[in-house]
């Protein structure tokens, strides 16, 4: 490991620990990790897991900000561990905690069941009136560039849950669908191939699912893929007001 680079030689990782099978509850454990140039927080955690403490639990897979598995709270903000360079944090101690607004399973691994069930509840697929034609079609649904731009950025969502963890409304209202699910709802509503229309909007008028959003826009600030859930939610609101 090349440690001759400028900057930090080593950092302290203050990692949240929780084991449901032990009685000593929750707490933090500190590890010292040698740093090399270009090292990510995920690599630091993997160093801990391989060399220092095999009992540390976390979730990760692709290591390139594509799978959305390694979301965690790093120095107080929800971030992807694989997409966060240790150097860019500019601190000697990195505090790593599980994502907020998600139940903790063990250490840094959180339960996404509620998050995914909200995602499923918005019917994240194209709805066509003629389902036979949709299943057996032998023609393409063509779209202009303008039509694609209306929803494309929302289709970049990797379901990492960072927006859901950043949202202050999700923290207090479990009926609120959250930025991820609502952005996906808008992604399909804005798609010119979709014919869901009012069927998609009707469940949103209950005062909780959509209307509890107060535009704190923290979701858009933490998204690692350039999705703008806050924009999608406001545009969805407009649709609900005008068409619902």
């Amino acid at each position: 490991m090349d440690r001759g680079e400028k900057g930090l030689q080593e950092v302290k990782f203050k990692v949240f620990r929780y084991d449901p099978d032990k009685k000593d509850g929750k707490g933090f454990q500190t590890y010292t990790v040698p740093v090399s140039k270009g090292m990510t927080v995920l690599q630091g955690l993997m160093y801990i897991k391989e060399k220092l403490d095999q009992t540390l639990s976390m979730r990760f897979s692709c290591r390139m900000a594509t799978c959305g598995s390694c979301g965690m709270t790093i120095n107080g903000l929800p971030r992807l561990a694989c997409y966060t360079l240790i150097q860019e944090l500019k601190t000697r101690t990195i505090v790593v905690e599980p994502l907020r607004n998600f139940p903790v399973i063990k250490d840094l691994a959180t339960d996404f069941e509620e998050f995914f069930s909200k995602h499923r509840s918005v019917n994240p697929y194209l709805i066509r009136i003629d389902t036979h034609e949709q299943e057996k079609s032998n023609v393409s649904y063509t779209q202009s560039d303008e039509e694609v731009e209306k929803y494309l950025q929302f289709a970049y969502c990797i379901k990492c849950g960072l927006c859901y963890a950043a949202c202050p409304v999700v923290a207090t209202d479990k009926q609120f669908l959250g930025p991820q699910a609502l952005a996906q709802l808008y992604r399909y509503l804005a798609d010119s191939r979709d014919e869901g229309g009012e069927e998609r909007l009707r469940p949103l008028s209950d005062g909780h699912s959509l209307l509890r959003c107060h535009f704190a826009a923290s979701c858009s600030q933490v998204c690692p893929k350039g999705v703008d859930p806050a924009l999608a939610i406001q545009l969805l609101r407009r649709e609900l007001f005008l068409r619902g």
Binding site: G76, L77, K150, Q153, P168, T172, F215, Q221, R238
Partner: protein, 161 residues
Amino acid sequence: MAGVGVSVVVNALKTWLIPLRYGVERWSYTLQRVSGVAITLYFVAHVVETGNVVGGAGVWSVPPYEFAEMVWNETKTFLANPLFDAGLALLAFMIFFHTVNGVRLVLAHFGIILGKPTRPEYPYRAASMSKAQRGVFWLSVLLAVAAMVYALDVFFKVLQL
């Protein structure tokens, strides 16, 4: 179960009252909520306080004029201290901020002062954080500060040399 309830309340207060590390929109969210609660509490206290002049809850049996005058003078004496004056100055900030920021939120909810969806290209710039929307936020802060300074001047003559 009590432990779960406490942790929910603690988490709620943390997310409401600690807007650090996010952008100005999170500050707007926190200030809007805190000012909303403060204005509501003030409104209730204001109604109770002025209602006392005409006999409080027994308002339907109108008290004699002397009684109303006495209560009015007592209330004025009670409220005439720097703590309440400072509170009113703070309330001037909150009312102006809450009103103008409320208009900003209504406009944002209709997507009027936000950008349009575009292809996400690195470095990503969220269209919801448009200059127009942030401009109205800072306008609300500016007007609120001006209102507070005016109120401070009324009570403490801060602008007079």
